[in-house]
């Protein structure tokens, strides 16, 4: 276990020093600062106001940028080390592949998750001093959702990283996955729905197995437990499960997806030539 922690610790230290981490932290911290400067907490739209409105805006932007940030910063972790011969040297020491791979994942997870969480904490602390009501239920839901969304894309990134030979290809695949999950599924499914080629239940099922879609729906479910903004889709979702079960699913499912991809990546890493 000491080697696992060692790899995680050193990866964390190395990442924190990297320029991408600075940009990454500034983006999320900057978003919160921008919202306060823009007076988002003082405005009221569709009944949402104060910190709730700020967190809702934050999560809506996060869903777009967090996955691509995680993918592009992580997808080269193993393939990049392989490409520039770092892996060849670092694995000439008696470190098991399991410790190396999972240590890297743990280190990288802390790196990508903490700035997102800290940005929300800053909002809560600032809001507290400004005398705003703290929406703890929303804060905890978003903490869980961001944790599981980070896991999903970290797992996918390590999976890609375990089999690609060059960093450019890894980046290309990562970008494609992001676009596919973010936009294509929506566009494709809406067009299929409009053409009435498949029944709605199947289309909603396909949408809901996309972790990003699930995240989106879960993120609004606390503000709008009946999911009325989603129209008839809510009928299918809330008819099959209660709102609390749906929230639990929206945290557990992306976590599981991330874990499965990370495990697949490890199996490939173990079975493939290392350099």
């Amino acid at each position: 276990m000491k080697n696992l922690y060692l790899i995680a610790y050193l990866d964390l230290k190395e990442s924190i020093r990297a320029k991408w981490f600075l940009v990454y932290s500034l983006v999320f911290g900057g978003l919160i600062a921008l919202f306060f400067i823009a007076g988002v907490t003082e405005s009221q739209v569709m009944g949402f106001s104060g910190l709730s409105r700020l967190l809702l805006m934050y999560i809506q932007i996060t869903i777009v940028i967090l996955p691509i940030f995680i993918l592009i910063t992580t997808v080269r972790s193993i393939s990049g080390d392989r490409e520039n011969h770092i892996l060849e040297y670092m694995l000439s020491f008696p470190i098991s592949l399991r410790d190396y791979y999972w240590g890297k994942i743990i280190g990288r997870f802390i790196t990508v998750y903490l700035p997102v969480l800290f940005a929300m904490l800053i909002a809560i602390i600032y809001g507290f001093f400004k005398g705003a009501d703290i929406p703890w239920n929303i804060f905890f839901l978003y903490t869980g959702l961001l944790f599981s969304l980070s896991s999903t894309f970290l797992g996918i990134a390590f999976f890609i990283s375990s089999f690609v030979k060059s960093s450019e290809i890894a980046l290309g695949i990562a970008f494609f996955i992001w676009i596919f999950l973010l936009a294509f599924i929506d566009i494709a499914l809406i067009s299929l729905m409009m053409q009435q080629r498949f029944n709605e239940e199947l289309i909603i099922f396909i949408a809901m197995i996309n972790p990003m879609e699930l995240f989106r729906v879960a993120a609004i479910s606390l503000f709008d437990p009946e999911l009325t903004v989603m129209g008839p889709v809510a009928f299918y979702i809330l008819d099959s499960m209660s709102q609390s079960v749906f929230v639990l699913l929206s945290i557990a499912y992306p976590l599981l997806v991330g874990l499965i991809f990370a495990l697949l990546g490890f199996k490939i890493f173990e079975k493939k030539d290392l350099v």
Binding site: K2, N3, L6, L10, K13, E14, R17, A18, N84, H85, I86, E88, Y89, M90, L91, S92, F93, P94, I95, S96, L97, K271, K272, D273, L274, V275
Partner: protein
């Protein structure tokens, strides 16, 4: 100590190692030579357990380096041809090595000192920011401090000035007893004084293997 039996390694249709068999025993210092693409690096990477062979096997002290990598690597020191761009500081790199391979950091410092590398002055500097020669000296110091019974050097003196090469050969002479020293080199004259066996490879095969 190292037994390579009918080892074949292919990359796609290219055969990098073609049914190679050889053994390396303790107190042997071997110069492994051959043209580019002869299979030298593939052979040492197979010994280090980086490659899954297509057929044949490698045993290091009776252990399979792919399946029992941690036990095998406990006894191997390796210095690659080009120092990799590791972003860890020297302090962190030594921490990695000291915890993973139980290497005494004071001993790394000692050998670095012998190689005229001032670690203390560069302790917080990233490894990749050191000059080529300093990186190579650091890797050599680590390889000697690890006290392995098998030491593999892939063109270790490529970045060293003549004085540093002399220091390196002097330290090796002091540390060669009861060990296997395997040099991948294109310049036999540089290691001629150290080696007692020369192996030539070509097109993935051992074409000549002689004691000197």
């Amino acid at each position: 100590m190292i037994k390579v039996s009918q080892l074949t390694k292919k990359f796609g249709s290219h055969i990098s190692l073609d049914n190679v068999s050889c053994t390396f025993e303790k107190n042997e210092s071997i110069a492994l030579m051959g043209a580019n693409g002869a299979g030298k690096t593939t052979l040492i990477r197979s010994i280090l357990g980086y490659y899954h062979p297509n057929s044949g096997e490698v045993l290091v002290n009776g252990l399979n380096p792919v399946k029992q990598r941690t036990q095998v690597l406990q006894n191997i020191s390796f210095v690659p041809q080009l120092p990799p761009p590791i972003k860890l500081s020297l302090e962190e790199l030594m921490q990695y090595i000291s915890i993973s391979a139980q290497v005494d950091t004071q001993l790394i410092m000692h050998y670095a000192d012998e190689m005229k590398l001032d670690i203390k002055a560069n302790i917080h500097k990233s490894f990749f920011k050191l000059s080529g020669g300093m990186k190579q000296k650091m890797l050599i110091a680590i390889s000697l401090a690890k006290k392995s019974t098998i030491i593999i050097y892939d063109e270790p003196t490529a970045n060293l000035d003549p004085k540093a090469r002399d220091d390196f050969y002097r330290l090796l002479k002091q540390n060669e007893d009861e060990k296997v020293l395997l040099f991948v080199t294109h310049r036999l004259e540089e290691v001629k004084e150290l080696v007692n066996r020369q192996i030539y490879m070509d097109l993935g095969k051992v074409v000549s293997d002689e004691k000197v």
